[in-house]
């Protein structure tokens, strides 16, 4: 049994314990424990989606941003909101629409008559957790305003740079690009998200439960934070200490270059993608209770981390193979490198 799963089972849903703890770098056992609490809380809301929840937590601990992509109505926003609400931190939600302006996100300097000078009004981005709903409904100009701040962790308005809070995670949802009224995210911007997950329809019995139990009021209302921003920040630091040996790095590089050489892909993985993969693998290893990364961790994170960054060739699209299929094939073919002696 996976230690993470064990930990989830043993956790009772108890909110508010961690409030007021001094910020420090916790050890990996603590990572496991807190993450399990978080997962337990989220699972109580999002039923039957343990894998998705786990990836979401992994991305959170790996200090990345999450893109949730699926058809409307399967709980994308719910997932984002659940995660945001499980953590006691500042949460902002932005509903992206075609007329949303960049300044709505980053903030704007307005002239204050009282003090006779410009004053910075922070935008929606100034929060620990930013939920960007239907991000591909905004104009590219607005999208890029968000995405710049995602990468840099700071916002510059009128020549002044404002640091964003830590931890900082953007959870954006988007409809599949074929849907009406959407502006597809450019490759460069998709690359900034660490992982993309797809919710998928709930399994049969989960859907029945959903109808029976969630008919009245939202389970979100009962959800109380199980941890706070400072703890998460500590966990993020702890995850950075997970050891990745040189052969793991080599494996990631091999995988990345395999996507670049694959005849089925027009665009392969960028070095940033490789970096994201390593970070995600570290978090995945930590969630498995290990202090080192295994190739299995890398393999588990390859599809969520890489699939949305790749661009299939026309032939691949014609064959109705998704980039996930191509990546699964590559995993079968790329040898796990032995350490060089």
């Amino acid at each position: 049994m996976d230690p993470f799963e064990q930990q989830i089972r043993g956790t009772t849903f108890d909110a508010g314990d961690t409030r007021g703890e001094p910020p420090r770098v916790p050890n990996l056992d603590e990572v496991l424990e807190v993450a399990a609490r978080l997962a337990g809380a989220m699972n109580s809301v999002i039923e039957g989606k343990k894998g998705v929840v786990r990836i979401a937590i992994t991305v959170l601990l790996a200090e990345g941003h999450l893109l949730v992509e699926d058809v409307p109505g399967v709980g994308k926003t719910m997932l984002a909101k659940t995660l945001a609400r499980s953590i006691d931190c500042s949460v902002r939600r932005i509903q992206f629409t075609p007329d949303l302006l960049p300044s709505d996100i980053t903030g704007v300097s307005v002239y204050n008559q009282d003090i006779r000078s410009f004053e910075f009004r922070p935008g929606a981005i100034f929060a620990n957790v930013v939920v960007g709903d239907e991000i591909n409904r905004a104009s590219p100009k607005t999208q890029s305003a968000l995405l710049e701040s995602m990468e840099e962790g700071q916002v510059t308005v009128d020549g002044t740079t404002y640091q964003l809070q830590h931890p900082f995670i953007v959870m954006a949802t988007q409809n599949p690009i074929e849907m009406e009224g959407t502006y597809p995210l450019p490759e460069a911007q998709r690359d900034r998200f660490m992982a993309r997950i797809s919710m998928g329809y709930p399994a049969g019995h989960s859907e029945v439960d959903l109808l029976l139990h969630h008919g009245g009021r939202s389970p979100l209302d009962d959800l109380r934070p199980v941890t706070d921003a400072a703890t998460i920040s500590g966990l993020i630091h702890a995850v950075r200490t997970v050891h990745a040996s040189s052969s793991i790095a080599q494996y990631i590089v091999d995988l990345a270059s395999a996507t670049r050489e694959s005849p089925a892909l027009r665009l392969g993985a960028s070095p940033r993608a490789a970096l994201h993969l390593l970070r995600a693998s570290r978090a995945h290893a930590a969630l498995a209770g290990r202090d080192h990364v295994l190739p299995d961790d890398v393999q588990a994170m390859v599809v969520p981390v890489l699939a949305h960054r790749l661009h299939p060739t026309g032939e691949t699209q014609m064959a109705r193979r998704s980039t996930s299929d191509v990546l699964t094939d590559l995993l079968q073919r790329v040898r796990v490198p032995a350490p060089r002696s």
Binding site: A244, S245, V293, R333, R335, A338, P339
Partner: protein, 782 residues
């Protein structure tokens, strides 16, 4: 049209025709060529038509055979057909014709007359071969395998032609076959291809790399085979042909086991191949411990390299006892053999010489002057009593031939005739080996010793005649020193005659093979020829100039002087077993008389090869067995070496674990458990556990192995790794237990590690000159 493959069929037919081309040298006139070509055409066309009509394979040869049969019956069965269909009567006629043909083949040497039966037989054979080649090479599309029937057909026809064939006979057949193979290879290769031309800038995919590897492997293989084909014949000396050709081609009893046999009463000493039938000629029991060759006939007349039996012997009713020419004082011991299952045809009869009494049952017989027995018909069983002449050294030395005593002894001038063309060579040779004026017995011993020395090589194949020898086969033999019993015997006879000793040729059989039930079996391959030399007072004495590898030991009197008087309790005509007098003294300097002694002129390799080629069969088997066992252990040993070396090269715990893990992967791979390429150690462990159905204990061990290797590879430096050798070994054993026995044996005998080790060693050796050169260049001052 693609399925019909008419071009392939044509190539197959051409190859068949070329392979059977040597038949034209076997029969004359060559009337049979036209029907044969017609049959080839018919077979090829029928095959193409049937292939075009149906995708099934099995009807093709059937239809070919039926149509071929029909056409042959139209060609050869005219007058016996019923509405163009063959009748039973026709087949009866064919059977008669074919048995005629068999008789023709057996009684004529090449070229034999092409009688109607021969033409029919050849046509049928050609049809059959054509169908087989077409079926294998074109219908079943395995042209490489079609080489086998082609080679068989070629060997059968080539081996039967008395002389060596010109090289183009082989080149034609081989060339068409190679064309066939090449064409089908190209066709198949094109079938795999894509119609889209490859852009030069296109990336090389793994498939391309794989194909390139095949191409380069094929190229290397071809170069290696070519080099071997050139080098091997240069390095290996001529082995006796009977190892390969035994039983092929001509034989006096060519009908094989169960047939009767008769030795040719004329011998051509220029001919290479010799009686090679494995058929049993007769079997016998002897009351003596040692047995003697069985003589069938005696030949006196020799000319132009051919022995003939022209002298007509007056027949007498009984055998001489004591034998002709043996005077009273000579010690004789008597022995007796009882022959059963005699298959020698009259008027010949195999009997040791000189025979003194014969009991052929109810079969009437007569004796010739030279001591041969001539039965009226073939006796199944008979008993022969014969004597062994055991002369003392004194008697031998005194037995000097002089013309006066010759006249009334049954010895004729024919027994002293020599071919003039070979006289100079004979005299030159004799002058080298024995001074003139030596006693007759010394001369004879010297000749025998010379011929038995290692300078001479026993071979069923004769060396190529030297043109300077005037095509005299005897001169050629004395120069090339390579031949079989007939050449050796002829040489000894002619040399003896040259020195005035009457000599004649005896043909018959070697004693044969001792069966477990103490009877002796004589086969067609035991046919032998030896000289008999006349010594006054002693009669005709058998000599044995053929090297001992073939003929066994020479008679005791022919090799060394023996003590005066018999040393054993041997008595004259006792009817019991003989005793062999033991030589009491043997001159040390008389090396040349010793059959085992090697003349100093013989080269070392020749001696070595002579020694090897005369090894008995069990010794060969043993050597092959030992070599096989050693050879099969080479790869496992190399594998162990390689693993040890890898472990020794590992400098820390993690590297040791890694070396173990790599060895583990290769070992389970050898056992047929192959995890997918991209498997992580953990996935590999799971795969092994599932696919080898490991027991819970072993699953636990597998898990510990995986944990260890994961720690070794991926844990932060300084983590304790642990040892995985022992659980790994146990898991490999358990995996092996779930595999079939053959797979385990294969994994043991042919391990990947062993192959890589050998491969590296070979590559290293091949690369050594280049590296040495590079080092030399780097040493050179600039």
């Amino acid at each position: 049209m693609r399925r019909a493959r008419p071009v392939d069929a044509a190539l197959a037919a051409l190859a068949t025709a070329a392979a059977l081309l040597p038949l034209t040298s076997l029969f004359t006139p060559i009337d049979f060529v036209r029907p044969c070509l017609l049959m080839l055409l018919v077979v090829a066309a029928t095959g193409a038509a049937v292939r075009a009509a149906t995708p099934l394979r099995w009807p093709v040869p059937m239809v070919q055979l039926v149509v071929g049969m029909l056409v042959v019956s139209w060609l050869h069965g005219r007058g016996h057909l019923w509405h163009a269909l063959p009748t039973f009567e026709m087949f009866q006629g064919w059977a008669n014709l074919l048995s005629d043909a068999l008789g023709t083949i057996q009684s004529y040497s090449a070229p034999a007359p092409a009688t109607r039966g021969v033409v029919l037989g050849v046509t049928l054979i050609v049809t059959l071969v054509a169908v087989v080649v077409d079926t294998i090479g074109v219908t079943r599309r395995s042209p490489a395998a079609a080489g086998l029937p082609l080679l068989t057909a070629y060997l059968l026809s080539a081996a039967n032609s008395g002389t060596g064939l010109a090289i183009w006979y082989f080149l034609f057949a081989a060339g068409f076959w190679v064309l066939l193979v090449g064409r089908q290879g190209t066709t198949a290769f094109r079938g795999w291809g894509t119609p889209i031309p490859l852009d030069g800038a296109e990336r090389r995919t793994t498939e391309d790399a794989l194909a390139l590897r095949f191409v380069s492997a094929g190229r290397r293989l071809a170069v290696a085979s070519l080099a071997l084909a050139v080098v091997l014949p240069m390095v290996l000396p001529h082995l006796p042909a009977r190892f390969l050709l035994s039983g092929l081609g001509r034989a006096p009893g060519g009908v094989g086991v169960g047939g009767t046999s008769r030795l040719n009463s004329s011998l051509d000493i220029a001919r290479s191949l010799h009686s090679q039938s494995q058929g049993v000629v007769l079997s016998y029991r002897s009351n003596a411990g040692a047995v003697d060759p069985l003589r069938v006939a005696v030949l006196t007349d020799y000319s132009q390299g051919e022995w003939t039996d022209t002298a007509v012997d007056p027949d007498t009713a009984q055998l001489d006892n004591p034998p002709l020419g043996v005077s009273a004082g000579v010690t004789l011991s008597t022995a007796q053999i009882t022959v059963t299952g005699n298959r020698v045809d009259p008027p010949q009869l195999a009997a040791p010489a000189p025979a003194v009494a014969a009991d052929l049952g109810k079969v009437k017989w007569s004796a010739t002057l030279n001591g041969s027995i001539r039965p009226d018909r073939r006796p199944d069983k008979y008993t022969i009593r014969y004597v062994r002449v055991q002369p003392t050294e004194q008697q031998l030395q005194n037995a000097q031939t002089d013309p006066v005593t010759l006249a009334d002894s049954g010895v004729t001038q024919n027994d002293l005739d020599i071919d003039e063309s070979s006289r100079p060579t004979l005299e030159a040779t004799l002058a080298k080996i024995i001074p003139k004026g030596s006693s007759a017995i010394d001369t004879a011993r010297a000749i025998q010793g010379y011929l038995r020395s290692a300078q001479f090589i026993y071979s069923l194949t004769l060396a190529k005649p030297v043109p300077a020898d005037n095509n005299d086969p005897l001169v050629s033999f004395l120069r090339t020193k390579q031949g079989y019993c007939i050449q050796f015997a002829t040489a000894m006879i002619m040399m003896a005659r040259n020195r005035g000793i009457p000599a004649r040729m005896a043909i018959g059989f070697l004693p044969g093979h001792l069966e477990p039930d103490t009877s002796w079996t004589v086969r067609g391959t035991d046919a032998h020829a030896w000289p008999e030399l006349w010594f006054p007072g002693l009669g005709w004495l058998r000599f044995e100039p053929t090297p001992s590898g073939r003929s066994g030991a020479a008679p005791i009197y022919t090799t060394a002087p023996i003590a005066d008087g018999p040393s054993g309790p041997s008595t004259t005509a006792t009817g019991g077993a003989t005793s062999t007098p033991t030589p009491s003294r043997r001159p040390i300097d008389n090396q040349q008389d010793n059959p085992g002694a090697l003349a100093p002129t013989a080269s070392a390799p020749a001696r070595l090869w002579h020694g090897i080629s005369t090894l008995p069969a069990w010794a060969w088997l043993l050597v092959i067995l030992v070599l096989g066992v050693l050879g099969s252990l080479a790869l496992p040993t190399a594998a162990v070496l390689r693993r040890r070396r890898a472990l020794a090269a590992a400098d820390d715990e993690a590297a040791v674990a890694e070396a173990h893990w790599q060895a583990f992967l290769r070992q389970i791979d050898d056992l047929g458990v192959r995890p997918p390429t991209g498997s992580t150690p953990r996935q590999t462990g799971r795969f092994v556990a599932v696919s080898a159905h490991l027991a819970p204990d072993d699953v636990e061990r597998m898990r510990s192995v995986v944990d260890t290797i994961e720690r070794a590879r991926y844990a932060p430096p300084g983590t304790a790794v642990g040892d995985l050798a022992e659980p790994m070994r146990l898991v490999v054993t358990s995996v092996g237990r779930t595999r079939p026995r053959t797979a385990r044996l294969r994994a043991f005998l042919n391990p990947t590690d062993g192959r890589s080790q050998v491969h590296e060693a070979v590559n290293g050796a091949l690369d050594a000159p280049r590296r040495a050169w590079a080092r030399l260049r780097s040493l050179r001052p600039r």
